[in-house]
Symmetry: C2
Subunit: 200 residues, 2 copies
Amino acid sequence: MASVTGPEIERLIQLLARVPGLGPRSARRAALQLIKKREQLLGPLAEAMRVANERILTCTTCGNVDTSDPCTLCRDERRDPTTLVVVEDVADLWALERANATTGQYHVLGGVLSPLDGVGPKDLSLDRLIARVAEGEIREVILALNATVDGQTTAHYVTELLAPHGVKVSRLAHGVPVGGELDYLDEGTLAAAMRQRTAM
Amino acid sequence: MASVTGPEIERLIQLLARVPGLGPRSARRAALQLIKKREQLLGPLAEAMRVANERILTCTTCGNVDTSDPCTLCRDERRDPTTLVVVEDVADLWALERANATTGQYHVLGGVLSPLDGVGPKDLSLDRLIARVAEGEIREVILALNATVDGQTTAHYVTELLAPHGVKVSRLAHGVPVGGELDYLDEGTLAAAMRQRTAM
C-alpha cells in the first residue's frame, strides 16, 4: 500500500514486524498502541532497549544472557554447585527457571549437533563444559535437551564426552505432559510413558 | 520466578509484555530474539522508537498519526477532495488504506459515542468535521464506523449533524465477508446480506 504515515513511523512498523510473535498486521496495531501510550510505553521501551543493547553480556561461565558477568544465576550462592543442567539455548534455561525445575547450575551449549545445518562439536560450548566438569565439584550433569533427533544425538555425544570424568549423566524423562490427554499424544510419547511408568 | 537475568533485561521483558500482540511468555521469547539480533534488530528498533517518540504528531486536519502536519495523506494531491471518509480511530484509517478502499480524504473522530463509557459528542472531533464540510468542497461523507451499537449510534448522530449542510451521507455496506462461509456467519449479517442483495 502507499504510505499512510511518515517514514519514521513506517520504519518503526517494519522493525516491529520482525519481532517474533508480531507479524506485519500486528506490528501496525502495536505501533499505534505504542504511539497512543507514548509516555507510559513507547518512550520507556525505547530507553529500555537502548540500555539493554548497551549492557548485554553473555555469561562466560554458563552462557546465559545478562548485564553482568558472571550472570545473576552463576552469582547466586544458594544454587547447587554439584548439579549442572545442560541446555541448548538461553530460552530453555529461562523456561526451566520459570518452572522452578532445578536449583542446579546451568550450561548453555549454544545449539545442538546438526550435520544437516553444518553444526558440529566445534560450534558448541563443549570445551567449556568439560572444563567446568573437570574442576571436580560437579557430581551430576543433567542433559535438558529437546526430545528431537538432533537433541538426542547431542545428548549421546555429550554423554560419551563426559564418560572419562566419572560424573553421573542423566536426561529429562519422557512421558505424558501434565494435564495432557492420552488421546492427543503421539505413539512415541505414549510408548515411552508406558515403559517408564512409575509405581503409585 | 526469581530473576534469571539482569534488571535491565527484566525491564525490557516487562515493557515488551505490554505491547499488544505479545504476552508475558512471548515477551521473553521476543527479548531473547532481539538480543540475539542486536545489530540488526535491537539497536535499530531502539533508535526507531526514540525517533518516532520524538517526532510523532497528530494531523490537525484529519487526526491521522504522522511525523508531519498536515499528514502524508492530507498532503497527497491525488486524493479526492470531494469525498470525506469518517473513521473511529487511526487503526481504521490504516485498515481502509491497506484495502485501497477509497481515494477520499479521511476524518478521525477519535472514538464513538458511548454513554456507558462516558463518551459524549464533546469528546469526538465533531466541530472539526462540521468545519471541514462547511468549507464547501466535500460532496459525500462516508461513515466507515464499526457495525456495533455504539458505531451505528454515532453514525446516526453524525448524519443528523450533517443534515443542514446538504452533503450526501453514506455508510459501509453490511454483508458476507469476501471468502466467508455462510455457515459461520451470524444471523444479523446473513439477514442484512439478503436484504441488500445485488443483481448479478
